[in-house]
Symmetry: C2
């Protein structure tokens, strides 16, 4: 797939993947928002907090005609330097981390937006197969490119979907944070996997997938080397994990035959979600991969965690004091039951 | 303050603190909901997840006439075995943890509801001083009693407030979880404090409060040995921590003179929140204290963490994939600015 690189006048990078039509004459994207950036250490939780005051004024629910992720038109310079495109990636105007203002150096991490399509009114669940497969290639390319930056120690690919998750733009898109450190949840899981290896037991995620394949009760999808399942220890009623069955640390390690199945598994889960309650499921999707801090990390095994917000028709799973202040989730359903319900919803929508 | 103990027919305990009027004849509280309880280990995050299927059917936004936290009437047996009361505590009909079905043994932790008043239409912020002070005594009593149970290793006192936090009952109340383990966030903070002590630096929370008192920029309230401040490393724009200035591990360790100030600091914060945007602020309140696992824990220092959900008028701080999937918070404001704004709001409402 062809990639064409752009540089906005404010120094921000943009990439068009696949074919595109040139932007109309006079194209001028809005400049990066000015604001203070600080990385602050929380000594109580021993974690970084990112202060990004520029984000206060980020674009909030624009009309479609002003959508910054739509193609540009003579009357509208969007974030995309094209009048038509396949997939696009650009550096956020309102990044969560201090951007490099000139050249590659000086920044402290990066915040990119991944636009899945130039169609405003579709979603991840309705992307055609070909587009879906190419999205995995785009993610893989971003992982490699951002991971090679000196200021990026962890590439975090994610999607927030639905107003209940705080999404402020409806055009189908995901995001990528290149953190200048390994974030706490990733570190927690890597630590668990290192402990497991030290006990002579091999990769923890390999074992978890194998266990779920054998147990079957919570399995949703097994195809082309990829498995999707409701973990036995789900925090959210319909939480789903997606992982390659064999040991793969990151996207570039996926075999060619695994890539399409990886994309299809993700879409099958989201389609199942949407089939559960007759409405679009609000969810978070978080991809955990090998850190890019220069160390080998044989303990890392790529997997995607879906946190869907509905626990029942019309009822949200809220994160409240128990979850946020103590860190312990209460799941008011049995993961085996929820897997069965979700499996049924997935089979109704699969072609 | 007098405490009167009750036992519901299903074995659940209830306590009335202060004076009360007897329940009407024929009082019959609803029985504990039946359902499956399991404690499941998440090997990836190395944490417990509580499966409590009985909670699926918990009471959801009842009309006031059916409010389970209001006094009982001839036509309505609520959770409270009284026709009038001051403060009440009872074991949740829909607990998060496996209850003991008979006697004190056999349970795996406990979930209590703390009812602040028999008035349905007030809130924590409008409680009169006398009631507020007695609430601290009730919390302290619950900490001691639950902490002495063999199956409770950590007493977590908290309040969720507002529909945006998932509150399903409007009557002013808080909750207490007696966990059969030390929950992850508490453990994280205790671990940080232990590391600090091992470096010969004394109590971490003592140092943090002293630093904030000296810096002043983020300080909101200092009175009677209690300080409230926006921490430099706030995750939520208006996050506030409240702690005794001197080293106190848990509520029973507070000096008599510190107790009223502790209560007043909490209320001053909530009143300030409500004054920010001309509407009631949805928030979580989490109290971190010394574990009750039988070990001394000199590193523990009681403090309350407030996580308010509004970041601006009409705009919520959402927990999305960055927070939940990576564990890194982005704060789109400068804590010093937010402290100043909140200080102004607090001074407008203070008597």
């Amino acid at each position: 797939m062809v990639r064409t690189d752009f540089r906005h006048p404010d120094g921000r990078r943009a990439y068009l993947y696949g074919s595109f039509l040139e932007a109309p004459q006079g194209y001028r994207p809005a400049p990066r928002a000015a604001g203070l950036y600080e990385r602050r250490w929380n000594p109580l939780r021993r974690e970084w907090v990112l202060v990004a005051a520029a984000r206060q004024n980020r674009t909030f629910m624009p009309d479609q005609v002003d959508c910054p992720l739509c193609p540009s038109a003579p009357s509208h310079s969007s974030e995309i330097p094209a009048a038509r495109f396949d997939l696009a990636v650009f550096e956020n105007r309102f990044p969560a981390m201090r951007p490099s203002l000139a050249g590659a150096e000086g920044g402290e991490g990066v915040a990119e937006v991944v636009v899945y399509t130039d169609q405003h009114d579709v979603s991840f669940s309705s992307l055609p197969l070909d587009r879906l497969h190419r999205l995995v290639d785009v993610w893989s390319d971003r992982y490699s490119e951002l991971g090679s930056r000196r200021d990026v120690q962890y590439v975090f690919i994610f999607e927030n979907s639905g107003e209940e998750v705080g999404v402020t733009l409806h055009h189908p898109h995901g995001q990528i944070y290149g953190y200048p450190f390994i974030p706490p949840v990733a570190e927690l899981e890597l630590h668990a996997s290192r402990l497991h290896r030290r006990q002579g037991k091999g990769c923890l995620q390999c074992e978890l997938v194998a266990d779920e394949c054998e147990a079957k009760a919570r399995m949703l999808f097994v195809r082309g080397g990829i498995a999707a399942y409701v973990p036995a220890y789900a925090r959210y009623p319909f939480e789903v994990h997606v992982a390659p069955i064999d040991h793969r640390g990151a996207l570039p390690d996926l075999m060619l035959g695994e890539r399409p199945s990886f994309a299809e598994a993700l879409q099958a889960v989201v389609r199942g979600y949407d089939g559960l309650f007759g409405r679009t499921m609000p969810y978070m999707m978080a991809m955990h991969q090998r850190p890019t801090d220069g160390r080998p990390h044989p303990e890392a095994h790529i997997h995607v965690e879906f946190y869907p917000l509905l626990r029942d028709a019309g009822k949200l799973k809220f994160l409240a004091a128990g979850e946020c202040g103590a860190g312990t989730f209460v799941n008011d359903s049995l993961p085996e039951d929820r897997a069965q319900t979700l499996r049924r919803a997935m089979s109704r929508v699969e072609p």
